[in-house]
Symmetry: C2
Subunit: 185 residues, 2 copies
């Protein structure tokens, strides 16, 4: 029985970076639950309104086994939400999965959990500057350092999702899923 993996939603979230991990985890029957930091209905970076399963304020943090933070403009909202930073620290403290893609590693940095870590992030100056203050930033599509998985941007969304599933113990099923999703790495 895997604990719930929470996928955070904030206005301006990058739609592919959000959908790919949810799609991949749910295809593998890993319990992925989407949680909004504000309203239930959240508008993506390119204007697609999606409905969160729950509100972050209703989350029972003790039942959360991991969190996933999509990028896009929503990453700044995640960074600036104290409840998100508290959740990141709580999951980190219990050694759960902490995953962030694109600009979202800025929220992990703000939560103070990236010191000395090896991560990747979106190659925009503001993002790299914030993250590289405390962490080693690489150009990889996906990096894993212990329980922290980071992805570089939308084009890394599949590999980010696959890396998360593999970390959660579904490495073998991921190989089948790559074929099922006709994803040629």
């Amino acid at each position: 029985m895997i604990d719930t993996i929470l996928v955070l939603m904030a206005p301006g979230f990058e739609e592919i970076e959000f959908c790919a991990p949810v799609d991949i985890l749910r295809r593998l029957h890993i319990p992925a639950v989407t949680a909004s930091i504000g309203e239930r209905e959240v508008k993506s970076a390119r204007g697609i309104s999606m409905r969160a399963d729950i509100l972050l304020e209703d989350v029972d943090a003790s039942e959360i086994g991991g969190i996933i933070l999509p990028g896009g403009a929503g990453a700044w909202a995640l960074r600036d939400t104290p409840a998100v930073l508290r959740l990141i620290r709580m999951v980190q403290e219990k050694g759960g999965l902490v995953a962030a893609i694109c600009a979202a590693p800025i929220a992990l940095r703000a939560a103070g959990i990236l010191d000395g870590k090896r991560v990747t992030a979106y190659p925009a100056e503001e993002v790299i500057a914030a993250v590289s203050e405390v962490a080693t930033v690489t150009h990889a599509l996906v990096e894993r350092d212990g329980n922290i998985i980071t992805g570089r941007g939308p084009g890394a969304a599949f590999e980010f999702g696959f890396a998360i599933a593999s970390y959660l113990g579904f490495g073998k099923q991921v190989e089948t899923l790559r074929q099922e999703m006709v994803y040629e790495a």
Copy 2:
């Protein structure tokens, strides 16, 4: 001025195949409008509720320059909706873009526009059987035959979106966008 590109939504649509073309087209300021064949709120293949911009029944077909059909279980609903088949034929008759990914080429086949065409489609028996009755089916991630662009599955969603944008005259911008989306082909 580019005519509106309509992205169809039916319950069970594959979320990445839906989001990637919308994301890519809107990043390039190509007017992509999402249209549901039923309710405004449509649930994706893995349970993400998304809100369509409009209902298909409210579409003024004369203003449509092209259509995009995502795959997933929703492809069968598209195939079985007479208004969708009429729209496909109308766009085809005026030489507009007709794009379908994954299982969705079955709707193009049902509309009777695939005879003698070269297409790709999701490698599931039912899909390949239906499409290959009238068309040549390849194993490519993306095929283009005149105004008809087809994609193989979720893993082809980026290339499918890029091919659509290129076909619409944004080939040069697509090269920049690949970098912006850190998509390494």
